[in-house]
Subunit: 210 residues, 2 copies
DNA sequence: GATCCATGTCAACGCTTGATGAATTGGGTG
DNA sequence: CACCCAATTCATCAAGCGTTGACATGGATC
């Protein structure tokens, strides 16, 4: 335990350590089970310092829960190959999760917390709804645009839920490219296929095996 | 407030009232935010009585969290019309949720709690994985059977998440038959379509986003 | 080098939580 | 009727929670 008062310069930035610790714990435990004292302990800091910087536990949440990726960037350029946009969406999202562990942890935290706390639920709803909608704007035809984007959201959300949150074995252990091959056509269908009223909305495999 | 000691006969069964209250609160608030005292108050009972019957808060959870529907029954007979099994799955699941409010609340609770507490997470994983697998057994071809069932689980789970938990507008407000028409073919595809195997064409990533 | 403020710890408060043990009542059984 | 056990409340506990105010320290400013 360091002595009282301001620390000499040189050491790590305590504010940053608090944010890191909070992000880790929130993502592992959710909002309620994460205690200020635990965050303080992991950040090697007194608990009161958290209040000094972030006022509240909610303030800490807001600060720690930054959206770790810009959906617009992630999903940019899909209209350049509209026929494989579905596979690209799945591949990029999975690539995002499988890549940097820090990003993955933040996303996982977003989901975990979002399912237990209202503030983050808004962020999550926003991500799965409006953000994806605008990001997919150019690829998606005008009719049922909002519904199409939301359907993509449900499929991708369900995938992430099964693979990373619940850990359903068949989905958790599948190699990413298998998931891309399996789910890509579905996303493609939601993006550009016949939805609703149209008869015989079949999902055609581009490589024609049946 | 009733006096001490055993109640005279005739009134409602306190044990049952506790279970009802617990199911309601767990489904509304999740595990952590549901307090024993709140359950006791709603059941019009002293908090200690809950411990008398269910020992623990976890014991109460286990008792209150009965699976409100038998997946085998819900998904029975799909093989009699295998070509429309996908639509049938979506229609039956949505029908289940849109029907009895009590069932709906229990299912919602299962999801809410399952995403915040390990015990219920197991139940949920089981439901979305193994249970659905056996229920779909006859319809699903042998190859990738577990994966197919799990994929159905992700799509259905994502749908329920978007519609009932997060409340994404386009999905929340859509009439059930529109969702059946939109998602049914996807489930059908997961059940009987061509999955994986085919080499996937790649799409160029923008801005070096992995 | 005196002053001021951001930074940091310490000690504690007030509250809620899950849980426990004793006390009390009523029904069932002999 | 006497006895026992289940049912039920009461009073209370220890722990943990988020939060607060007071205090100490060091860097920056003039």
């Amino acid at each position: 335990m360091p002595p009282r008062g301001r620390r000499p310069v040189g050491g790590p930035d305590p504010r940053e350590q608090i944010l890191t610790a909070a992000a880790e714990l929130f993502s592992e435990l959710g909002f309620e089970r994460t205690t200020m004292r635990a965050v303080a302990a992991r950040a090697d800091v007194d608990a009161a310092l958290i209040h000094h910087y972030f006022v509240n536990k909610e303030g800490l949440l807001s600060a720690a829960l930054v959206m770790p990726v810009d959906a617009g960037v992630l999903l940019a350029g899909l209209d350049q190959d509209p026929e494989h946009a579905g596979e690209a969406v799945v591949r990029r999202v999975l690539g995002l999760w499988e890549g940097d562990p820090e990003t993955r942890r933040r996303l996982l935290g977003l989901i975990r917390v979002g399912l237990s706390h209202d503030y983050a639920a808004g962020v999550l709803r926003d991500l799965l709804g409006r953000t994806i909608l605008t990001a997919l704007g150019r690829v998606v035809p005008d009719d049922h645009r909002a519904l199409r984007a939301a359907l993509v959201g449900t499929q991708m959300g369900g995938l992430l839920l099964g693979r990373y949150v619940l850990g359903i074995p068949a989905v958790r252990d599948a190699p990413p490219e298998q998931l891309v091959a399996a789910i890509g056509p579905v996303v493609q269908h939601y993006l550009t296929g016949a939805i609703g009223g149209a008869p015989a909305a079949s999902i055609n495999q581009p490589h024609g095996t049946a």
